[in-house]
Symmetry: D3
Subunit: 253 residues, 6 copies
């Protein structure tokens, strides 16, 4: 039996992706990111100063917060007060780690970039949309900081995008929506950079296990999806040539 995608996409096909830049006005970077029915408002703010462990090093920092609005899901879910769920914490740590790979913190100087990812509508893939859209917001914010003269040089030394893949009926599918996410036996999130180097990989067998062959099939699909997302990001960032300073191959492991 073969999985029929509810929206009739090909197994290796992304959902429509779009970046609505300048969705709000007060944060230097603000992008309403849509991946199919998933909508994440990604904003990037900048504050002078860094966390204690970096004070005096001349280096900056990037941190992230992730939340869902209560009405984002099919059934209203409670806001997290008092304490964040493990899921929320995992996701915001992942977003922060991933996007830090795009920034040269010595060029940024002792400033902190905060990426807020607020999910307005959730149809699966919110964490990868937050990373992919967060990168566009990051570029917008840097663009504005350069224009305002707050930054002299662009610290954007990498490009980062993320996608989910999964196994359904034992076969790989790209960019699962909610119905697929629930049905999948294996769920894999992949974050890659402009060279398709892996920044983060997280795979879980919700049921049973998966083989290394299956892992490789999933990664083939993820690569394909991320290649398209990298292009879409660059199209959305009109001043990409100015902002992106490249990594001169120096930071590869």
């Amino acid at each position: 039996m073969v999985w029929q995608r509810p929206d009739e996409r090909q197994p290796y096909q992304l959902r429509p992706v779009s970046f609505h830049k300048g969705f709000t006005r007060f944060a230097p970077g603000s992008v309403l990111t849509r991946c199919g029915d998933t909508q994440v408002l990604c904003t990037v703010s900048v504050t002078e100063g860094v966390p204690k462990f970096l004070a005096g090093t001349g280096k900056g920092w990037l941190t992230s917060e992730y939340r869902m609005l209560p009405s984002a899901t099919q059934k209203r879910h409670e806001r997290e007060l008092l304490k964040l769920s493990g899921r929320t914490q995992e996701i915001q740590r992942l977003i922060g780690r991933s996007l830090r790979a795009a920034i040269d913190f010595e060029v940024l100087g002792e400033r902190t970039l905060t990426v807020d990812a607020d999910v307005l509508q959730a149809d699966a893939g919110t964490r990868t949309a937050a990373i992919t859209g967060g990168f566009v917001a990051l570029a917008s914010a840097i663009s504005q900081l350069l224009q305002q003269g707050i930054l002299e040089r662009s610290p954007l030394c990498g490009q980062v995008a993320a996608i989910s893949v999964g196994l359904l009926q034992g076969e790989p599918y790209l960019d699962l929506n909610y119905i697929e996410d629930v049905a999948a036996t294996v769920d894999l999130n992949v974050v890659m950079n402009q060279h398709l180097g892996i920044i983060e990989i997280q795979g879980t067998a919700e049921e049973g296990s998966f083989s290394r062959t299956q892992l490789n099939q999933l990664l083939d699909f993820a690569e394909k999806g991320i290649q398209q997302l990298l292009i879409a990001q660059r199209e959305a960032i009109v001043d990409w040539e100015t902002l992106y300073v490249g990594d001169q191959g120096s930071r590869e492991a």
Copy 2:
């Protein structure tokens, strides 16, 4: 010296107001409310059951939550974790009290309506925008519940809108924006119903005090503004005639 409004409005003039219905898909009511640069996403969800103090009475309930996204303000502000600020609690209690005046809870039955007001962009007047837009979302939600057969009759027995007025240089101004809000010596929020009956009035002298004459001038302006908002709401609610069952004069004090 006379106050010059930064956006050149007349003293008694509202900011442009709009209601973007169906902004998100999963909550029965979802309205992106814009009052000038203030943007509040108002959603209304319904759950079976009521708080303890109403269980078994056959009556429903309406409650509200209010939050600002961290990037909504000119300078990013921290999310409220652990505990809500006094300001946030005051506002969400006000929204709940105000919108409860629009519902006949016996007709609603033992269900709870939750109005979430999430401020995406804050240029003053967020609480009044949340009430005015929350009413439109409430009507949308009731409309959907009627169509789905969850409700048999509409419980919408009142109409509710709210506006802020303030004293600047001793003179009254309607619908202050952020710059005006900071400069005002007196700030008054007024919630009224379809007959311009007062549901809630809250006025504070940030500096000095104000006379009863000034209070009356402020209320004159508030009435004018609310009259326009009541019309704008009814225009946005296409099935108003069906939804609104009126109050038959029975609930006036």
Copy 3:
């Protein structure tokens, strides 16, 4: 049908009010305030220094905390641990805002006055009793600080008192007790200064709404009540002439 007051007062009549000064010894100001059966212990402490946002400005600050003892109400209520209820926060913010109108913070200098209002017995009107009695405690504290040479000049530039009024059977009544408070359809709290200028007005229709005519009737009663409270305060503050430095008309809006 006309409301019969349970204690046979006239509609415009206050409950007996008294200020027991020096009820405790360690705080510079300590007043057990009684309004009928409502008893609020109001104390005023002084600490050197001010909150961050005022540091270095040469100006002082006044803040307030409000709590009910668990046994203050007819049925024991739980203490608020972990987080304060919205009601408590609203009230303590109101007390602070109101009493700040009485102080010239440049004369106070970089000191913080803390007004603690602890309700020992609650028969309605606790927030207004806290403001009215808190003002007497404030004067006591300033008197002591002057005697101790901690202050050179009195910063007491205003007088502040508060009262509640309500609509019962559509008619206005002054200074509601618990039975009346529960029965009232409209509840209005008013804070005024020595010139009967309005510092704060908060009115809520618990049921239905109220007209501007009714609002004016309620304010007439509130003015009458506050006039008497202002006299009672001055009688309780034996060194009023020394302490009160007047406002030279300079701070009116």
Copy 4:
């Protein structure tokens, strides 16, 4: 060198003790207890039902809460929000344990007595004042519950009082005030019943240690003090003969 008591008491002399019954009206038992300058408002409330571990046993329970008002001490101290200090928790557990020794819980039935001890003014000995005064409030509450017919028989099977003793300059002193409490090298709190049987003993050497001979001297003083407190309690409880049902020697260890 011999310690000179600041208030010129004999080493074995109590501070003046008084019990102001009916200080507040809503709790069945309410006693303002004064031991010198220490003032503790002790109230006793009753609620139907018991904690889970007793449900269905037919037995009642007694619990206690202890707090200091912020203005009770010479220097204002912060209220405990979020979490109670270790000191507060120790004290309220001690009060509860001690007063439970006075009640026959089978006679009480599945009800919970809550003893609230709120310190209005603190001049040392607040926990022992809370126990001694709490017992009087307990008797008042039982008296009222009997009169209201809520209880048929009195569950008061014991009498409980408490006092502090301390070593100053190596010599024992009874009922320390704040100055003495700070200066003492050993601090001992003793709770006893109507037969001078020990219910609780807690002694701490703040400095060095103390011998068993010194412990016995301290206990001699404590016995003397408690004998007087037991008499004062019985004088304050006018219907003592009716309320006290005795222990028939049955509960001694």
Copy 5:
């Protein structure tokens, strides 16, 4: 330049591993797990009942808690009160997910197994030691529950072990200790079952990125390590043949 392992191990060599069964007596399963200098006390408790979302399904559950003693690390770290760090939550969710793969919850019935992993000494690899040792504790607990007749059949349908691998100087190394963990540019944790099927894979580039070729090298090493751990587990579980009921190939994705 090639990495010199501080303990002179081969790149593909595990640290010495041991399982001290029955380290404590009260939990049905208790294993002090040592992987080099890392020591984790893994205990498994059983309680009747399951979380709400499973009630009435006839299926059991397994959950996990992970903590470090404050003295486990080279520099004492604070206990987590009020809220768990993101790291702690991620780890305990990972342990729970991984070990759930070993249990047939229909056979377990409506019981909850709690795996407590308390790190007594931390020299890196604590989460993988917790999983590998937690599995042995799980088997011990099941063995005891069978002997006590609480379970009739063994629910142990899988075997689970975990290991970390990392890139140092661009080359793969197995089972990093603390010094290596800090120096690694890529850190990968792998959880596998008895067939070397992947249950979970989590890889992070702390610096730069890694290629799919490097990922495969890392997975080769992980497989080797896990094969040895699976053998060590079976040696430690003396009644393995009785306990392990196999998966009949039925749960593979």
Copy 6:
């Protein structure tokens, strides 16, 4: 009827006691303390600096934290998150107070010693085991700090041990285990120094009361037990003669 000890000890007989030094490696002092089936891991860490109230005095401090692992008890108990129970706070305050009696804080200088007592297995007497074993860990830590040259002189000016005694069937018994602890009507914990001077005494009648004669019998037993514990401690601390600098009689009350 006479109590039969479940382990057939004499009434005045201790359980076997042992101190496993160096149980973990990273804290300067680490001792797994066993008293019968009770096992407490006591570690001592040192940090530069002291709490605010001591800053600048040249004196050091000692503080303690106490926790039970969830699997330490016969039935798993929940970890304390959010807030510590009153019991936990009482115990860790007691441990801190008791062990501070062993240290000359002027010799220690502005450093803080933290004693972590983590109960791995609980068969009653965990707080006294924590004190007795904590003292051995303290001596180990000081020994290491001297060897590392961090301390020049030993601040160990006292020896501290603790034991519990209880009344069962009206007769005294030493060092109760869990079964006895539950059955006892009176429970007394005693902390003494090298001269059998009392540092702390805490006695509670769980039922009824106890006489001064019984208190003296209990103290006789406690003295006997503590004498043996003092010997066992000195045997475990191999460099006792070097570490212990004595108290020169100067700190006795």
